[in-house]
């Protein structure tokens, strides 16, 4: 079986490696190199591609995902919207099981102050039903660019990892509330 595995190329390298190690006598590492020589070394990098096979993900050991408990705890104590970073974007926005409201702002943008206040109020009023975050576009331009944010303040509403609503500019609180009510 080991021989068969070595012959056909798409065999997983672990069995290939095991097969060779079992088959090769311990006395002849040098001879093996001569014998299988070029072809073996050539095949190795090719076979390492197993890491990219669809089923390979389960074989790669990843650190277990960080529990979201820490985030939940800090939420309970902060009254308004929290700051979000590019690193936590996937975890808090895409993977959230409740709708998420993100305010994109910049440090010296006047209208952002007014929207800050509205978002903080909404965060308190809808605590537990939606999550509210703020993202500084100067700190994380890649996120702003990927969601094609041009004007700030812009408020995006996400549900099940998808953007469902976008509100640009400073608008009365009722506009934000209406969009949220529709999403929950």
């Amino acid at each position: 079986m080991a021989a068969a595995a070595t012959c056909c190329c798409p065999a997983p390298p672990r069995s290939l490696y095991g097969g060779v190690a079992l088959a090769a006598p311990s006395a002849a590492p040098g001879r093996r190199r001569v014998g299988y020589g070029a072809s073996a070394t050539r095949r190795w990098p090719c076979c390492r591609r197993w890491a990219h096979w669809p089923g390979a993900a389960s074989r790669i050991r990843r650190p277990p995902p960080r529990p979201a408990a820490a985030a939940t705890v800090s939420c309970a104590y902060s009254p308004g919207a929290e700051t979000i970073t590019a690193c936590s974007w996937n975890e808090y926005v895409i993977c959230s099981d409740i709708p998420v409201l993100i305010e994109f702002w910049a440090s010296w943008c006047g209208p952002c102050r007014m929207v800050h206040r509205i978002v903080d109020e909404i965060a308190q009023e809808y605590a537990g039903r939606i999550k509210c975050y703020k993202l500084d576009t100067d700190d994380y331009p890649q996120i702003a660019t990927s969601y094609s944010i041009e004007r700030i303040p812009t408020v995006l509403l996400f549900k099940d990892g998808e953007k469902i609503h976008s509100i640009t500019g400073t608008l009365p609180k009722a506009v934000y509330v209406r969009a949220i009510e529709k999403s929950i």
Partner: protein, 149 residues
Amino acid sequence: MMSVSSTTASPFGLSPMPSPRCLRKCAVRAQAGAGGADASDKSLEVMRKFSEQYARRSNTFFCSEKSVTAVVIKGLADHKDQLGAPLCPCRHYDDKAAEVAQGFWNCPCVPMRERKECHCMLFLTPDNDFAGEDQAIALEEIKDATSKM
């Protein structure tokens, strides 16, 4: 507007750090109202004057909440220091330097000049819900509002 475009080229950001003695001298001068204490104060004053002037000329008014006006003027002054032109602080740009060179969003931006649209809420037409009654803002007001953050 003319005065702004004529001063955009002056390299405020390039002046060396003033010595403590110089700072003291400048502080005295600032109290006397004869100019800013350092480079950023100077462009803050330039942008403040420009805003007042442009509001009067375009018949627009500052926001009823003056802290919004103050923050925007501070943002314009910061961009003037960093980039050499008062780029609108209420937008996200991929490349700020390229935007400055392009000029579309340098204050007063094209939408403002053409249609009196300022989404930064610096210049508001009288029919805007947020418009106040002022066309003037004091430097102290700006400093107060921006120092809290």
